[in-house]
């Protein structure tokens, strides 16, 4: 009957109880909507990250910490054998959807027509594998990336819009939103500008007649000698971040290897492994490490969270934001329920006295009010979940779009309410616990009332 009395008392002052429940519900809904939004954001960042570079990358041991400044000397030799070991492993074949070699490099690019030059950083992919990497879509988000997919032409590559602008390719490529340098652009007056113009044409291969504008890419080979290749601009794609857009080059792996290794042995910087499901990262990493150890290879495995520090930072940011919001809402719920229960005790002093006179123990009185607080929490939290689902339904059908930081395309704004059932359960439970705790003080006060004073209360 304790629960009967508690439940009926909730509806006794329906307006006050409804206000309290709504406070809990709106607070809970706010937490869940934010959690759903944060989860969606994390999935977006994860999707773009995994589409670009897979879940795991196998490097030459030490490359990750020491070799990124000089990828040419940290290459993996006989990488096809390593890729075959991974692809042929029965465990990895179930977990992985793409296993592909990649080459990272950096150097100086020049437009031979305009004379414009700038530094670049490039990734060399196997075109078919790169297209498959970009297909990864575990969470049904699609892509917020511009596709950097290469065509099969070894000599063609993709560059960022900013990169094209720097090299004065806007006119030749008929690019929109890509201005030519102004006539009154300041001229360089340094000593370097005074040096005689360098001519790298002697380093390049046999001259071809390009069908699209071509640029020269200069880099140091593994042996330290300068090397140069010509790359046709197959496509220009704007990248989300300006610093990336201004220097980004994606090229065919063979062209990248030709540039870095020249006539020497062609190696790769890493072997990218993209899994079917992100949750398999730990298992796949452990398996890769055991394969490497079994084959006595001097390699190491890094996952996408290590390689892309901003992924962890994004996760941490949302976690701290969620915690902050949860604490604020928890405090509001705590005080609201406490106030409601305090008023309820004040209104029922005589009833408390009667119950005590009839033989109810102090603990029974306390239990009655604590139950009431808990029930307010249950009703409010449940209502909050319903509100959050309603909000998610509305947002997901609203057609709203947004462009994630660092990306180039707007994508639909979605709330992934079902993506984290444990978060929903946790928010529901926390709200009930907070409501119950909020009722403790008033309940204790009710239990301590002197019977005679309570019976005299008017």
């Amino acid at each position: 009957m304790t629960f009967t009395i508690a439940l009926r008392n909730i509806f006794r002052n329906a307006r006050r109880s409804l206000t309290t429940m709504l406070t809990i519900a709106v607070g809970g809904a706010a937490m869940l909507v934010f959690a759903a939004y944060a989860l969606y954001d994390v999935y977006v960042v994860q999707t773009t990250t995994v589409q670009r570079g897979g879940h795991l990358t196998v490097y030459h041991k030490g490359y990750f910490d020491f070799g990124s400044g000089d990828p040419a000397i940290w290459g993996i030799a006989d990488y096809e054998s390593v890729a075959r070991i991974i692809r042929g492993d029965p465990v990895m074949s179930k977990l992985a959807r793409v296993v592909t070699p990649v080459q990272f490099l950096g150097g100086i690019a020049e437009n031979p027509q305009s004379g414009g030059s700038r530094t670049f950083f490039a990734t060399g992919f196997v075109p078919a594998d790169q297209a498959r990497l970009e297909d990864w879509n575990e969470y049904g988000i699609g892509t917020a990336l511009e596709s950097n997919a290469l065509n099969g032409d070894t000599s063609q590559g993709v560059v960022g819009l900013g990169f094209a602008r720097y090299l004065g390719l806007c006119g030749a490529l008929h690019l929109k939103d890509c201005p030519e340098p102004p006539n009154n652009a300041p001229a360089r007056e340094s000593d370097v500008a005074g040096l005689p113009k360098q001519d790298f044409s002697g380093l390049a291969g046999p001259a071809v007649t390009p069908t699209t504008p071509s640029i020269d890419l200069l880099a140091a080979t593994a042996g330290g000698a300068p090397n140069i290749v010509a790359m046709q601009i197959g496509r220009v794609e704007r990248q989300g971040a300006k610093e990336m857009d201004d220097g980004y080059v994606v090229m065919n792996l063979k062209l990248a290897q030709q540039l870095v290794y020249g006539r020497g042995e062609h190696k790769v910087t890493g072997i990218v492994v993209q899994l079917r499901r992100t949750e398999d990262v730990a298992a796949a990493r452990a398996r890769l490490q055991s394969l490497i150890a079994a084959s006595h290879l001097d390699l190491e495995v890094r996952d996408f969270k290590e390689i892309n520090a901003y992924y962890g930072q994004t996760l941490g940011f949302f976690n701290s934001m969620f915690s902050f919001i949860a604490v604020l809402i928890g405090v509001v719920v705590l005080f609201t329920v406490s106030n409601t229960m305090g008023m309820s005790v004040m209104e029922r002093v005589e009833e408390i006295g009667t119950s005590r006179a009839l033989g109810a123990r102090r603990s029974a009185i306390r239990a009655q009010f604590v139950s009431e607080g808990a029930m307010l929490g249950v009703l409010g939290a449940t209502l909050g979940i319903a509100l959050a689902f309603a909000a998610a339904w509305a947002v997901n059908r609203s057609g709203l779009t947004w462009t994630p930081p660092g990306d180039a395309h707007a994508i639909p704004l979605k709330l992934y309410m079902l993506g984290a059932p444990m978060t929903i359960a946790a928010v529901w439970l926390v709200l009930i616990v907070v409501s119950t705790l909020a009722a403790l003080l008033p309940a204790n006060r009710a239990g301590k009332l002197a019977i005679v004073d309570a019976l005299r209360h008017v």
Binding site: T4, I5, R8, R12, E350, E351, A357, G359, A360, R362
Partner: protein, 234 residues
């Protein structure tokens, strides 16, 4: 039930003082009294004479400043708060001036409630509550909430609630004060009938002449002290 020789209530040199120092108010001044079992006993006194205070001490909802209270042969001063609650739940029924029904419970649930506090089984609880409601003539109104009952009906529910656990002692503080004279007379007759049927000891604090006319014993008080005690009925 106490044997015929043992009083239902024995008070020995009871003093009750409210407050302290110069502002202390002495509500009861060394009262010693034995209330016989199975009787209809009235505490009769002008307002402010201490009869409600005395009733509260007998009902174990208050403690004397000094003196010994024994109810149903048990000295209650030594009982812990929980033990005292259990003792009240099993031994004492209360009827209040303003009915004091629990508003969110139906008439039936109000009558069932004291049995719940004694730990009675569900079936026994429901059977006893229905029987008691029928005995006070409210079987038809069992599902009504207190706000759907008249004053007389509320007090009938309160009487049923007090008696449903078959207590050794029922305490009633001005039970007819909030009722019109006709309803009050009905209630007095009902309590008298119920008392005769159950043999329970009833102790009233009252001014009501209808009620006083039904007394077996009268205890008169003034200014916190007994002025007269005596039996009217044999």
């Amino acid at each position: 039930m106490p044997d015929a020789q043992e009083p239902a209530v024995r008070l020995t040199n009871i003093v009750k003082t409210y407050g302290g120092g110069k502002g202390a108010v002495r509500a009861l001044r060394g009262i010693s009294l034995a209330i016989p079992a199975g009787r209809f006993t009235m505490l009769v006194a002008p307002s402010g004479s201490g009869k409600s205070t005395l009733l509260n001490l007998i009902g174990c909802v208050d403690k004397p400043t000094s003196g010994v209270v024994e109810v149903a042969g048990r000295a209650v001063a030594t009982l812990s708060d929980n033990a005292l609650s259990d003792f009240r739940a099993r031994t004492i029924g209360f009827i209040f001036q303003n009915f004091s029904l629990i508003p969110v419970l139906s008439a039936f649930e109000n009558v069932e409630y004291p049995l719940l506090l004694t730990g009675a089984a569900v079936g026994a609880r429901r059977r006893a509550a229905l029987e008691m409601l029928a005995a006070v003539g409210l079987a038809e109104q069992k599902d009504r909430r207190p706000n759907e009952l008249s004053g007389g009906q509320k007090q009938r529910v309160a009487i049923a609630r007090a008696l449903v656990k078959r207590p050794k002692l029922v305490l009633a503080d001005e039970p007819t004060a909030n009722l019109d004279s006709v309803t009050g007379a009905d209630i007095v007759a009902l309590m008298r009938r119920m008392q005769r049927e159950s043999g329970t000891t009833f102790v009233f604090a009252t001014h009501d002449p209808h009620l006083i006319a039904e007394a077996d014993d009268i205890v008169a008080m003034r200014d916190g002290a007994l002025t007269d005690t005596g039996s009217i009925a044999p």
